[in-house]
């Protein structure tokens, strides 16, 4: 019958919530076994379930609950003392009830499982006979220290018929200390930090209930909220249209401004309805941590912080699995066994902290353990072994970048592959899942101290700030978090030009070389043979790879409310799904409707970059000159040169094969020793060779006009010194054969590069000269 189905549906929802509450109470009770409020609450929950399922005729459920209620009654009345074994038994009861509820939900019936064994054990426990020897946990003093509640509160008995109004996401005392059974922690534990997060709706804490309290929340179907958010999105668009259309009409301006203000606030309020506190997720973790710690034979203390941090409810679901995996990792691989910890001088109980907080428009969640940590060297060696990176590259990488290798599929530095994790299939999935919602994850670790994994996710996916650009006659949107800066492409004064290396155009930006993509060509919107010399380059960063997107123009807003306030190029757009037909392309993450009614696609830069092999083209964060991939067209052997201007204004070319990297130095970083100049880089000194001096100029140190000079660091095989130049002009191919015999000491000859005859430095000779030159 339809009516009955609806009631059963509600019953299932409420029962699930009650069980969650029950589970939390049980785990918390382990830390505070005599807490009367919790015991009463647990009893009431099971009692309610028993009553309701009897009403529906769910006899199996009713029987199980009845046996559970009997045991709980004795606990509540103080005839039995709560302990670890009872906790496990009652959690088993929770699981059993969940199993039956699942059966009801999927098949309509209670299922075929037999719970008579469980019922017998429940009865035995109620009679005071337990199968495993167990002692009561802790002393009363410890209980009070840990509780931070409620010892003084009277137990409130409420009439059992009250349908328990468990508010979803009700916060609890967050700390949960777990121990392997059945040993009792001999040394008193330090009182775990009891950060009791506040709910967003101000529901009363279960620990201090002094009477019936009216619940200020209501239950609303999520789809209704989504409809409201969609409608508000429409309103925002219509408002934009109105604004543009009525800009000239003074009589309407006042009313339009009012509409504008109200719509803005309505939008904020609507967005808030989609937000939910992360406590929904956090509240599940105490039990998971308890079970895992038991299985792995560890002692783990869980600390939760910031459970009231809010984010989009759809995102909460999506980070559940990744966070769970990170917790598993921390317990299984991070935190050491009690013996190991004692030997290392650490407290035997490991500490696992979960912290959530808002930070610059994102939600950051940190998972930190004080376990054995991960050695950077081990990760680096493993990465080299697996061919993920060369030894030379790895030597120059920061620790943070090296730790990123842990997220590669199949990468695992765990010594023994355990059942729970360590199979190396986990971390790459964690990263993929988090990235799929627009987030990032990174690791930092110190051997012997611990590990911290930081997950960052956007607050919401529905309304985002974006740049709207035009290219090849089309409008496209680029989500703002990718955008680093905007650079005008000017051919005339040569400040930002795109250098030509066949197949891989690059832009010189200050002292970096950035690979560049022409958007119109990329998307097949326009064809050309000569590279455009005007337009705007949007510098974006995807997964630590920086590249530039050349577009025709960046559309500015008119009358659109901007968040940053500084730039008028930022649009606040409503993201709409593009549907199952286009989403698999992986190029667009959605679409939006502009004020004029036109549809604009939102670019998925990561997908686009992968399709165009952008990450493979360059690694510019190390300021390495771009060495493009071998492409089919360029089979000619013309060498490439780095064209520079010396301190005395001369133009020279350095064969790119000898160039390791480019670095900028300040005048005060230079050291002089006799007539030689050195620059300090990190912990060693690099000798500077002045190409003018090579040519015979006097050895006086060059005038450094703005205090900077560019060092062209040479490769190790020619000595690893650096050429000191004033600025980098370009990277280009030779346009003529080398003409020798014209140059002097230290020069290979002259050739045509970038349209001008340029002297080419003989790098090995220059290096040899530098090592033998003596002071005059």
């Amino acid at each position: 019958m339809a009516d009955n189905d609806e009631f059963i549906g509600e019953f299932l929802i409420e029962a699930a919530e009650n069980l969650d509450q029950l589970e939390q109470d049980l785990v918390a009770l382990e830390a505070d076994p005599r807490n009367p409020d919790r015991l009463a609450s647990i009893f009431r929950t099971v009692h309610t379930i028993k009553g309701t399922c009897g009403f529906f005729g769910f006899t199996k459920l009713s029987t199980i609950s009845h046996h559970g209620e009997h045991l709980l009654g004795r606990l509540r009345d103080g005839e039995l003392v709560f302990n670890d074994a009872l906790a496990s038994l009652l959690l088993e009861l929770v699981d059993a009830i969940r199993t039956v509820l699942a059966a009801i939900e999927t098949a309509g019936g209670e299922g075929d499982d037999d719970f008579s064994g469980l019922c017998q054990r429940l009865d035995a426990a109620a009679a005071g006979v337990l199968s495993a020897a167990a002692e009561p946990i802790g002393e009363a003093a410890e209980a009070e220290a840990a509780g931070g509640a409620a010892a003084a509160e009277p137990v409130v008995e409420e009439p059992p018929e009250v349908a328990d109004e468990s508010v979803p996401g009700q916060p609890l005392e967050a700390a949960a200390a777990t121990e392997p059974q059945p040993a009792v922690a001999a040394s008193p534990r330090p009182a775990p930090a009891t950060e009791t997060p506040a709910t967003s709706f101000g529901s009363p804490s279960p620990l201090s209930r002094s009477g019936p309290v009216l619940d200020p929340t209501i239950r609303v179907d999520v789809s209704l909220l989504d409809t409201i958010v969609d409608l508000v999105g429409e309103l925002v668009l219509a408002r934009n249209q109105l604004r543009t259309a009525a800009a000239d009409d003074p009589t309407l301006v006042g009313a339009i401004n009012r509409v504008h203000a109200v719509t803005g606030e309505l939008q904020e309020a609507a967005m808030k309805t989609r937000m939910a506190p992360i406590d929904q997720l956090f509240s599940k973790f105490p039990r998971i941590v308890r079970d895992l710690a038991n299985t792995c034979g560890r002692q783990v203390e869980l600390h939760l912080d910031g459970a009231d941090t809010e984010l989009d409810r759809t995102l909460i679901e999506k980070i559940r699995d990744p966070l769970t995996h990170l917790i598993r990792n921390a317990i299984d691989h991070g935190i050491e066994s009690a013996d190991t910890r004692k030997a290392a001088g650490k407290p035997t109980c490991g500490r696992l902290s979960l912290r959530a907080f808002h930070e610059s428009g994102q939600v950051t969640i940190e998972v930190e353990d004080d376990g054995g940590g991960i050695a950077v060297e081990a990760v680096r060696d493993k990465a080299i072994l697996r061919g993920l990176v060369t030894a030379e590259d790895a030597a120059t990488m920061s620790a943070e970048r090296i730790f990123q290798f842990i997220f590669q599929p199949g990468f695992s530095t765990a010594q023994a592959i355990t059942d729970i994790s360590g199979r190396g299939v986990g971390m790459d999935v964690v990263r993929t899942n988090i990235e799929s919602i627009g987030g990032t994850v990174d690791i930092n670790s110190q051997p012997g101290v611990g590990t911290i994994v930081r997950v960052r996710v956007p607050l919401t996916l529905a309304i985002i700030p974006a740049l709207v650009v035009t290219s090849g006659g089309e409008r496209l949107a680029i989500p703002q978090p990718y955008v680093q800066e905007l650079v005008a492409l000017r051919a005339a004064d040569g400040t930002h030009t795109i250098a030509g290396l066949a197949g891989a155009p690059v832009l010189r930006l200050r002292d970096r070389l950035i690979p560049v993509v022409f958007m119109d060509r990329w998307l097949g919107l326009r064809e050309w043979t000569d590279r455009p010399t005007s337009g705007t380059v949007v510098i974006v960063k995807v997964d630590n790879h920086e590249f530039g997107l050349v577009v025709d123009a960046v559309t500015t807003t008119d009358g659109n409310r901007t968040t940053a306030g500084e730039t008028t190029s930022l649009w606040i757009i409503v993201v709409k799904p593009i549907g199952g037909l286009l989403a698999p392309m992986g190029l667009y993450s959605g679409a939006t409707v502009m004020g004029d009614g036109g549809v604009v696609l939102i670019l998925d830069l990561r997908g686009l970059a992968m399709a165009a092999d952008i990450p493979a083209r360059a690694s510019v964060t190390d300021q390495r000159p771009v060495l493009p991939e071998e492409d089919d067209q360029a089979t000619t052997e013309t060498a490439r040169y780095l064209v520079c201007e010396t301190h005395r204004g001369r133009r020279i070319a350095v064969p790119l094969e000898h160039v390791e990297r480019l670095e900028t130095f300040r005048h005060d970083q230079l050291n002089a020793a006799g007539d030689r100049q050195f620059v300090r880089r990190g912990s060693w000194l690099t000798r500077l060779i002045d190409p003018d001096v090579l040519r015979g100029a006097p050895t006086a140190p060059p005038a450094v006009p703005d205090g900077h000079l560019v060092g062209v660091i040479l490769t190790a095989d020619v000595g690893g010194d650096a050429l000191s130049v004033s600025r980098i002009i370009d990277v280009d191919r030779a346009e003529s054969p080398l003409q020798t015999g014209i140059g002097g000491r230290g020069l290979l000859g002259t050739l045509l590069v970038g349209g001008t005859a340029t002297e080419v430095i003989d790098v090995p000779a220059a290096a040899r000269w530098a090592s033998h030159a003596t002071a005059p």
């Binding site: 993509v517 022409f518 549907g579 037909l581 698999p584 036109g598 549809v599 952008i614």
Partner: protein, 165 residues
């Protein structure tokens, strides 16, 4: 989020015998009328760069983004020599909307499903894979289309070899 053939939906073995018929390149096609959500005149669409050629673009239907499929291209015909006003037949497939851009709309008719024959192998080609039934009528052949199959072949999962210029 790829489309997959539904186990049973309104378009397969449907008990409703009403079909929405339309013209594409002077041939008559029909789909289950239960799938049709709306009919509009052809309006401006936004190109989707790098999508399959048969995807004409996206249109904005009261705030909802609807992909438009050019039925001439999808069914293997050439684009019309003369620009003619066309019709958007908006269908609802499991909650998602798609618009079929057809030449002209014909009537909603009832055909006896028993009279519909399965297409023989010789008639079908890759473009006509969505034709699941044929019916001979005095004024021509009516081709019955399965909307799921219509869309399935348009899904592109790998876009490779983008030229960066």
């Amino acid at each position: 989020m790829t489309l997959s053939l539904p186990p049973d939906g309104p378009s397969s073995g449907s008990p409703s015998f009403r079909w929405c018929s339309f013209l594409v390149a002077d041939r008559c096609f029909a789909i289950d009328a239960a799938n049709v959500a709306e009919v509009l005149r052809a309006t401006a669409v936004n190109r989707v760069p790098l999508a399959a050629p048969a995807i004409a673009g996206l249109l904005n239907l009261r705030g909802r983004i609807v992909p438009v499929i050019d039925m001439r291209l999808r069914l293997g015909f050439e684009t019309a020599e003369v620009e003619q006003p066309r019709i958007n037949l908006v269908i609802d497939l499991r909650g998602e909307w798609y618009s079929l851009l057809v030449d002209d709309l014909l009537d909603v008719v009832s055909f006896d499903p028993a009279a519909i024959e399965a297409p023989s192998g010789s008639r079908s080609g890759p473009a006509l894979d969505a034709v699941v039934g044929l019916l001979s009528k005095p004024d021509g052949l009516v081709h019955f289309l399965d909307p799921e199959r219509l869309l399935q072949s348009l899904i592109v999962t790998r876009v490779r070899g983008l030229s960066v210029g």
